[in-house]
């Protein structure tokens, strides 16, 4: 089972990296960018193929280590297929 956990700063929290990237996009000519949040993602391979169990485990991993819930939000996606 493969999964991706995406972590990004909460909307109400100042995100200096996202702000700098936003400004850089405008500087090189991309108009109309409303907001940029800079986060990170983790690709995780798990033993077993039970989707519900995997989602529970990934949520627990996120809450315990991958995410700081004070300032970050996250999403979990299960990915199709085997790793290449």
């Amino acid at each position: 089972m493969r999964a991706r956990v995406t972590v990004y700063p909460r909307r109400e929290i100042l995100d200096p990296q996202g702000k700098a990237i936003h400004q850089a996009l405008e500087r090189i000519g991309f108009a109309g960018v409303r907001d940029v949040r800079a986060g990170k993602s983790f690709e995780i391979e798990l033993d077993g193929g039970d989707a519900a169990a995997a989602e529970r485990l990934l949520a627990e991993m996120s809450e315990k280590l991958l995410v700081n819930p004070v300032v970050e939000d996250y999403t979990v996606e299960l990915l199709p297929g085997e790793p290449s």
Partner: protein, 237 residues
Amino acid sequence: MKCGVVVFPGSNCDHDVYHVLKHVLDQDAIFLWHQDEDLRDCELIVLPGGFSYGDYLRSGAVAAHSPVMAAVRRHAEAGGLVLGICNGFQILLEAGLLPGALRPNASLRFVCRDVHLRVERDDLPFTVGYRKGEVVRIPIAHADGNYQDRDEALDALEAAGQVVFRYVDAAGELADSANPNGSARAIAGVVNSGGNVLGMMPHPERCAEDILGNTDGLALFSGLVGAAAAQLGAGVA
């Protein structure tokens, strides 16, 4: 007072803190290793600055789950003194022993310079050596020192008097130009509700000896030593 300085892989201010406690203040100081599960009867635990575990994931996030931190948590919950400086502050937040979080500096730069701090409380073991409202000059050196939390959490923190140090100008006034990292409400250091766990970004151990040209940080450590001795005296009497 028996003091334990925790060494994580990547700590780099451990010897500075040890030196102040052991050689400047003549205390019984030892190093504790991140894999230790026993604090060996230390009354004060210091989590020093550095880049524990390379600051991978988030500053302090991996260290917060190391074996020694389970013992530090028990020590803190039993009312024991814990001081986290810089990376140590980041570890205490990631461990949930203090509220809030430290984000990358608003400037996105590593900032290394002296700052002015206003001492907001002088009734804690960490600050009995200062007077409330006193302005001290202490160096900072960090990339992730931007203290943030939800507005209602910040309001609660202020109402409970848990903000201990704030970045100010030399006159002791709040100013954007005096806030080196974008911290909400210019917060430089906070204490837990029990008053026994303090986290701060500035480095008092780097200004605690005449030879360093600044001794503004010494009162934090000497105050702690005095407070611990007074507590012991009261316990005996």
